[in-house]
Subunit: 153 residues, 2 copies
């Protein structure tokens, strides 16, 4: 299944991927919040209206999870991905609201080999999630582990 | 509904909250991955066995989302929370596997007033997610916005 996927060597610093749009429904916001972030302002329209943002907003972790989905469909599905060691930072600049249509813009800004694992390399990515009006909702930076072509095992 | 919740002034630097355990099922791992992180090693037992961790593992964003759930039930439900501006960093040190029982340990390490919003204050928290054996799976740092008691609106 990885035959047509690119190894680390073929990733280019400066490459940009756009993925989306992903439309966010009221039902999805509430279902995510019930499972993972049951604060009143994520759980109902009424709660949102009485909360800090004045209307129902998605959990920031929901926006992150949608970003991951868009990373997979936009960029990672083209790569021999082996996961990620973590996240450098996330900034929730604006809340995600019902009917927002989210697009993730990812730029590879650096790449370097692993010192401890000869068969993988790292790619440093900066992500920006924007809505249908071009407003930036969230920025994120992280590192991906990508399999190398020229190394065994 | 916030009558019995603590304002920012009552949060103490050094307070520690433990929340959990939360047991992670195979079904939950696969359902989260299908929605948000459809990489083959998160989608089935077979995929996991052929993947970088040798068995089915949860999306790192699933572990983050479980951490959020445990933050809400452990600490945030005691506070006049107004959300968070982002996440400072996440380190996925070990994957989350089927039947792991996760506990979140949160320590408030700093607090400071907002310069732009007189009615909130910030609390800086360090989190550690551990499993049933005490192994640290993930660390995370973030900042919470908490409503102040002594300020209007």
């Amino acid at each position: 299944m990885t035959e047509t996927k690119r190894p680390w060597e073929e990733v280019e610093v400066g490459e940009v991927h756009r993925s989306g749009p992903h439309r966010v429904t009221e039902d999805a916001i509430i279902r995510f919040a019930e499972q993972f972030d049951p604060q009143y302002f994520h759980l109902s329209r009424e709660g949102g209206e009485n909360g800090p943002f004045g209307k129902l907003s998605a959990s920031g972790w929901h926006t992150c999870s949608i970003a991951m989905k868009l990373m997979v469909s936009g960029m990672l599905c083209t790569l021999k991905s082996e996961g990620a060691p973590g996240v450098k930072q996330v900034r929730w600049l604006k809340p995600t609201f019902v009917d927002d249509e989210l697009t993730l813009v990812t730029e590879i800004v650096d790449k370097y080999p692993s010192k401890s694992r000869a068969n993988i390399g790292f790619c440093y990515a900066k992500h920006r999630m924007e809505d249908q009006d071009g407003t930036t909702k969230m920025t994120m930076e992280n590192v991906f582990m990508i399999r190398r072509a020229d190394q065994p095992g």
